[in-house]
């Protein structure tokens, strides 16, 4: 289980990354934390000609808030979601999901954007990106574009990012006071990919009625899925009626696969359960401010 041979490039600027991608295209792979890529290299299922290590591009470090937007750089580590108090309060959904992303020794290198771009349908952060309405900044030598998270995932381990592009940054709208979040997950063992993972956000008006509510679900399809509650559902929950019906209704639209770890029926039932729990929690957190 030794990686195949490849060339290694350690650019120091975003422009250099773009230039390398323009040159190598699908023969290049980006490595940041490497926690998803390294196993694939060890198994030799990925054989890049050149590995572009973006870890030394300081422009991709850290995060900042700007005009109501949280801008997360490609080198920000998952562990920061647990350790950086300011980041935790700006990204409560990701902070709640973070303890379930792998283990301390992978979170310490694994990046937030790396996990989103790896696009494992059962991973936590892609679900969060959907629930938060994140915008992925995608860059190539020709320029920059933004892709909404809802349009970002186009298959298992596949995204709308082309071979010449990479994701230097993710933009996440900062929550207002009346927005609440919740992340719930079931996995075989602690730290495993989710059997089902659900992230919810709910925003209320000053009358504490739901303005928007969004549910991201992982583990139930080739990509993580996203549902915006329709007005009937929002009214129903705002009126204090059971969230369970709404959860059941979303779950009934799912067609999860059966694999080694769980059946389709189990995943659908757990989706209903976790949507119920996460929605209730998100709404109640929103109303508590």
């Amino acid at each position: 289980m030794k990686p195949p041979p490849f060339e290694y490039a350690a650019p120091e600027t975003i422009e250099e990354i773009s230039a390398l991608l323009a040159e190598y295209g699908d023969e290049a792979r980006i490595i940041a934390g490497g926690q998803s890529l390294m196993p694939l290299l060890a198994l030799r299922v990925v054989r890049p000609t050149v590995l572009i290590d973006i870890g030394r591009v300081s422009a991709l470090d850290g995060w900042r808030q700007e005009n109501g937007i949280l801008r997360v750089g490609a080198n920000l580590r998952q562990q920061d979601l647990l350790e950086d108090e300011d980041l935790k309060s700006a990204l409560p959904l990701c902070a709640e999901a973070a303890p379930q992303i792998g283990h301390p020794a992978t979170r310490s290198r694994g990046t937030i954007i790396g996990s989103i771009c790896h696009a494992d349908p059962a991973a936590e952060l892609p679900v969060c990106a959907l629930a938060l309405g994140a915008l992925m900044t995608v860059r190539s030598a020709d320029g920059e574009r933004q892709i909404a998270a809802a349009d970002f995932f186009d298959g298992a381990l596949s995204t709308a990012v082309s071979d010449e592009e990479f994701v230097p940054e993710v933009h996440i709208p900062l929550p207002d006071v009346l927005t609440g979040f919740a992340f719930c997950e079931l996995s075989r063992r602690h730290g495993d990919f989710a059997l089902v993972g659900v992230g919810c956000s709910a925003s209320l008006d000053t009358d504490k009625r739901i303005v928007t509510a969004r549910v991201g679900i992982g583990g139930v399809d080739d990509t993580p899925l996203c549902f915006d509650l329709d007005s009937a559902a929002k009214e129903q929950i705002s009126d204090g009626q059971s969230v369970g019906d709404v959860a059941e209704s979303i779950a009934s639209q799912l067609d999860p696969g059966t694999d080694l770890h769980a059946t389709s029926d189990y995943r659908r039932a757990m989706a209903a359960l976790l949507i119920d729990r996460a929605l209730q929690t998100a709404v109640s957190r929103a109303s508590e401010g």
């Binding site: 289980m1 990686p3 602690h190």
Partner: protein
């Protein structure tokens, strides 16, 4: 000062804790080359191998195919012949034109390092002409099935039949009969250290020196010698630290011959370290069996008989005869009185990884089926699980207890000693059984679903034929113990030092225990089947008695007294009635060796203080155990939380309870894996679906409950220290006890766990199919 029975911290630990272990992959020899093995991607196929591109690479030193092997090393010999499987199909060392499971070795690529060897392996082209794979053991036994080995009809490797009493009559007289189809799926040992071999033809010593991770180095020495056409004495097998064994390292693999053969061919040191991907698809598995059994009981719930048959998935070849299904068959009655018993087994070849013992070795299956039948009977007859076992356990006064059939070792199977009723009562106390049952009866129907499970088991341990131990007193008065059974983490250096230190009344750190080198003693069998502690431990005791006799005789001559006037005290032999007078062990050694050129002072004793002792048990000694678990089942998620777990074991007298605690806990962790997680899965084409640790799951810190351990000792009469083996007792009852506890928690009509392992998702599906909750009274 008695060290036997003390919770002595281990002599092994310091080096391991400081990163100074000597594991197989730590070995570096000048000029050492590395091997990567090309393995079959097909379960059943004719193959054509093209190695031209690989051989042409500058980075490849050699590519070895089946045709390159000497005739003596083309097929693995039957290293463990057993009359119950008279004509075993053994694997080719490298596949020759045909493959029979995914992962079977096809060729070996040799290069300067492992990276380059894997690059070279990528250049080997294998063309597969695939054929339908034989995976399902029931289908394999039908006339329509294709054959794994064309000359083995019905894919049946062998049949086993065991019987005692008159079972049909017992069933005719039964008040109640329960029957069930109970299945166990395969898992694997998955020691954290994979297998590995370093072989070096040492031309100065004219000897093939092989380091490996074997539990049976003497078996390997013989097999390697034969393959290389060398005398056994010209082959040395060494084991440094071995990173866990769990049974599957106790077998011989094709690589065990292949790597020394390559070292001989190339006359350079060769290293092969199995990587985890290889391990998952190519190291021996265990456990798949399908059992259809029934139990007859009288009106009170007393067992009248058990009968039925089971199928055993053997995999593609036979690494160790029929030992796993044989162990299941003889262990089904367990610690219960089963006066009438008939069981038959078909051993079936399939296109899967060969099957060999993995910690537990057929006994988890035996315990599972017996306890599941008892639980079914208890529920149907409305008898409490503990009461039903109290009624049927062999009473302590009935030991030694003869079962009425022949055991694995060919003797009449006889439990030498035991008191399982006492284990049961102690285990029930540890979980407050009576109170929990009362709480359970009062619990609201919509409250937490809490259940209790009980399982008892026996384990044949300490089997023969022998172990040999060399012992010497050194010039500094310390004692060296040399033995043939290698350690894979069991703490033999500590436990055996405790035994030897006691014998001479010397401190623990004055004993050095040496193993892992076939040149330390001439004969040995190996470390498996919970035998080293008992058999080698007893051999240490025997050698110490001989050594003591010799030293006492010598000291008596020196002190001009009688041996019975002497005793060992603090590193010396002293007069019992005046302990200030005596001779130190150092002085004894010095005198016994004399001076160069001068005659020995006491010629009649011969030189030095060195003896060889051995121990050959009359037959197995039987360890027993009782585990009780309390679980809570979340009916929404179907997650199971183990609230309380008690394990009470009878391992006879314990040399070191700290070490046996560790054995029990580690065993239970594997058992929890066998219950919830550890599943090797094949698809119908024979592709293995659990090829990484993302799919083959093992219990973690979050899955392992805190366990209350206790011991009840009935010393074995079969060895001088009264010991019994402790290696597998932790594992055996776990799937049975947890399944029982879950059934009890769920308490639904039609719901009964009949298969292990099972996931939360499996539990969900079973619950969805089952009926309404049973009333509280029925357990």
């Amino acid at each position: 000062m008695s060290l036997f029975g003390k919770r002595q911290v281990r002599a092994e630990d310091d080096a391991l804790l400081m990163g100074r272990g000597r594991f197989i992959d730590d070995i570096r020899l000048p000029g050492m080359l590395h091997v990567a093995i090309v393995r079959s991607a097909a379960a059943r196929a004719k193959i054509r191998v093209n190695v031209e591109a690989a051989r042409a690479s500058d980075d490849v030193v050699a590519v070895i195919t089946a045709g390159d092997l000497p005739a003596s090393a083309r097929v693995l010999p039957d290293c463990h012949p057993n009359p119950a499987l008279p004509d075993p199909r053994e694997p080719p060392v490298l596949a020759d034109g045909e493959v029979r499971y995914v992962g079977e070795p096809i060729c070996a690529v040799v290069a300067r390092d492992r990276y380059l060897a894997e690059d070279g392996a990528d250049l080997v082209e294998v063309e597969y002409e695939t054929m339908p794979a034989i995976i399902d053991i029931e289908a394999a036994l039908t006339a329509a099935s294709p054959l794994v080995h064309t000359d083995v009809p019905l894919n049946r490797a062998a049949q086993i039949k065991l019987a005692t009493g008159n079972t049909d009559q017992a069933f005719g007289a039964a008040h109640h009969i329960v029957r069930d189809r109970l299945t166990i799926q395969r898992g694997a040992g998955q020691a954290m250290e994979t297998r590995g071999i370093v072989a070096n033809w040492d031309r100065y010593q004219q000897k093939m020196v092989v380091w490996n991770v074997s539990q049976v180095p003497y078996v390997h020495r013989a097999a390697i010698a034969k393959a290389l056409k060398l005398d056994e004495i010209s082959v040395q097998v060494l084991n440094g630290d071995v990173g866990g064994g769990f049974g599957y390292k106790g077998l011989t693999y094709t690589e065990d011959l292949l790597i020394p053969v390559i070292a001989q061919m190339l006359e350079q040191p060769i290293k092969w370290i199995e990587d985890r991907a290889e391990h998952l698809i190519a190291s021996y598995h265990e456990r798949t069996q399908i059992h259809e059994l029934e139990m007859a009981l009288d009106a009170n719930g007393r067992i009248l008989g058990v009968r039925g048959r089971f199928l055993h998935d053997n995999g593609a070849y036979v690494p160790w005869g029929p030992v796993v299904p044989l162990l299941t068959a003889v262990n089904i009655p367990g610690p219960y009185k089963v006066p009438n018993f008939t069981v038959e087994c078909d051993i079936v070849y399939t296109n899967t990884v060969p099957v060999a013992p993995v910690r537990g070795a057929g006994r988890p299956q035996a315990c599972y089926v017996m306890e599941r039948l008892l639980d079914a009977a208890g529920r149907e007859m409305n008898i409490d699980a503990a009461d039903l076992r109290r009624l049927n356990l062999i009473p302590p006064d009935d030991y030694p207890y003869e079962l009425g059939f022949i055991s694995r070792d060919g003797t009449r199977r006889t439990y030498d000693s035991g008191n399982v009723p006492a284990l049961l009562e102690r285990a029930l106390d540890l979980v407050d059984y009576t109170e929990r049952r009362q709480l359970q009866a009062k619990a609201p129907a919509d409250g937490p679903m809490v259940g209790i499970g009980i399982a008892c088991c026996v384990e044949d341990t300490g089997l023969g034929p022998y172990e040999e131990v060399g012992m010497s007193i050194e010039a500094d008065g310390s004692v060296t113990v040399r033995m043939g059974t290698p350690s894979q983490g069991q703490g033999q250096r500590t436990a055996f030092a405790q035994i030897a230190a006691d014998a001479f009344d010397i401190p623990f750190d004055k004993v050095r225990v040496v193993a892992g080198n076939t040149e330390e003693v001439r004969y040995s069998i190996g470390t498996f089947a919970s035998r080293a502690g008992v058999v080698t431990g007893s051999a240490v005791h025997q050698a110490a008695q001989q050594m003591k006799d010799r030293a006492l005789g010598f000291a008596a001559a020196l002190l001009q007294t009688k041996t019975d006037a002497l005793m060992f005290r603090d590193g010396a032999v002293v007069l019992a009635d005046d302990t200030s007078r005596g001779v130190t062990l150092s002085e004894i050694v010095e005198t016994s060796l004399g001076e160069s050129g001068a005659p020995l002072a006491l010629r009649e004793f011969g030189p030095g203080m060195s003896v060889t002792g051995s121990f050959s048990p009359a037959t197995n000694t039987f360890a027993t155990g009782c585990h009780v678990a309390v679980v809570e089942v979340d009916l929404q998620t179907c997650k199971v939380n183990i609230i309380k777990y008690a394990a009470v074991e009878d391992f006879g007298n314990l040399a070191n309870p700290l070490i046996t605690d560790g054995q029990v806990l580690g065993g239970i962790a594997l058992g929890i894996g066998n219950t919830f997680f550890e599943k090797v899965e094949y698809d119908e084409d024979g592709q293995i679906l659990t090829g990484t640790f993302m799919d083959y799951l093992m219990a973690t810190t979050m899955d392992m409950p805190r366990v209350d351990i206790d011991y009840v000792a009935t010393p074995s009469p079969l060895n001088p220290l009264g010991m019994k083996g402790a290696g597998q007792g932790g594992t055996i009852p776990v799937p049975a006890v947890l399944s029982a506890a879950i059934d009890d928690a769920v308490r639904r009509e039609g719901f009964r766990l009949r298969h292990a392992p099972f996931s939360e998702s499996d539990l969900f599906q079973l619950l969805a199919e089952s009926g309404p909750p049973l009333t509280k009274g029925a357990k």
